[in-house]
């Protein structure tokens, strides 16, 4: 049964990220999730801990924008240069998500450096 206050990941992807001053930091390119102490079934529950924010999507779907070791070198270098304005917004810096307008309100004006999610 779908929870009453449920949304889809795809609703969050593409949302504009806006600061309190109205500055647009970019759009949500990905959503970083992490385990909690709570266990449901076989695994720890996963919660949203941050957003990958940027203005370009080229190569992002393969992770070239955030994975230092991913080759080939030339592709990684080009993609990371294209994504030089991308960054990470920790979830505790998100003040509100306006689902109807597709806007994430950020309480900070700057993004953290983009890092690898360390999924494995």
């Amino acid at each position: 049964m779908t929870p009453a206050s449920a949304h889809r990941l795809s609703e969050l992807l593409g949302c504009r990220v806006v600061t309190r001053q109205g500055q647009v930091l970019g759009v949500v390119k990905d959503v970083r999730i992490a385990p909690t102490v709570a266990v449901t079934g076989h695994r720890a529950e996963l919660i949203v801990v941050g957003l990958i924010v940027g203005n370009r999507h080229t190569g992002a779907f393969l992770g070239y924008d955030r994975q230092e070791e991913q080759g080939p070198w030339l592709v990684r270098t080009i993609v990371q240069r294209l994504h030089k304005d991308s960054g990470y917004l920790p979830w505790d810096q998100v003040s509100e998500v306006d689902w109807s307008d597709g806007v994430v309100h950020s309480s900070t004006d700057t993004l953290d450096p983009l890092t690898h999610a360390n999924a494995t």
Partner: protein, 130 residues
């Protein structure tokens, strides 16, 4: 607020979307077409389920193609107001290059019917080439 603990982090779109779903018998039972995110009482955004099928995939495409995918899926569905197939995260065993789930099958009733009445009756259907 619910706190995260050390452990593998995932970038949901990069590490989960479009991954193959594999059931306990090793059968390929769909793909991760979207994730359901529930806002819990503490305000945390919790991944509550995997959404599977055209009803979940269509809105990701957006535009006319997305609308068309959802419209065809809804038209063929037996429910008047269909919702995408939903696999609770409690049924996820592991996330690797594929997502392994405990459920024996996540196929829709129509697909199960098709398997039982058509596919399984084809000579050689029960033969495992592996």
């Amino acid at each position: 607020m619910t706190a995260s603990v050390p452990g593998p982090r995932y970038d949901a779109a990069l590490n989960l979307l479009d991954r193959q779903l594999v059931d306990t018998d090793g059968r390929l039972v769909g793909k991760v077409d979207d994730l359901e995110i529930a806002v819990d009482a503490s305000g945390a955004f919790r991944v509550s389920a995997i959404l599977v099928g055209p009803g979940a995939l269509g809105p990701r495409f957006g535009g006319r193609i997305g609308d068309w995918i959802v419209a065809v899926w809804a038209r063929l569905h037996r429910d008047e107001r269909p919702i995408p197939r939903r696999l609770p995260m409690a049924e996820v065993v592991s996330v690797e290059s594929a997502v392994h789930v405990t459920r024996r099958t996540t196929k829709s009733a129509g697909e199960v019917w098709l398997d039982e009445h058509v596919i399984d009756r084809i000579p050689g259907a029960g033969h495992d080439p592996g």
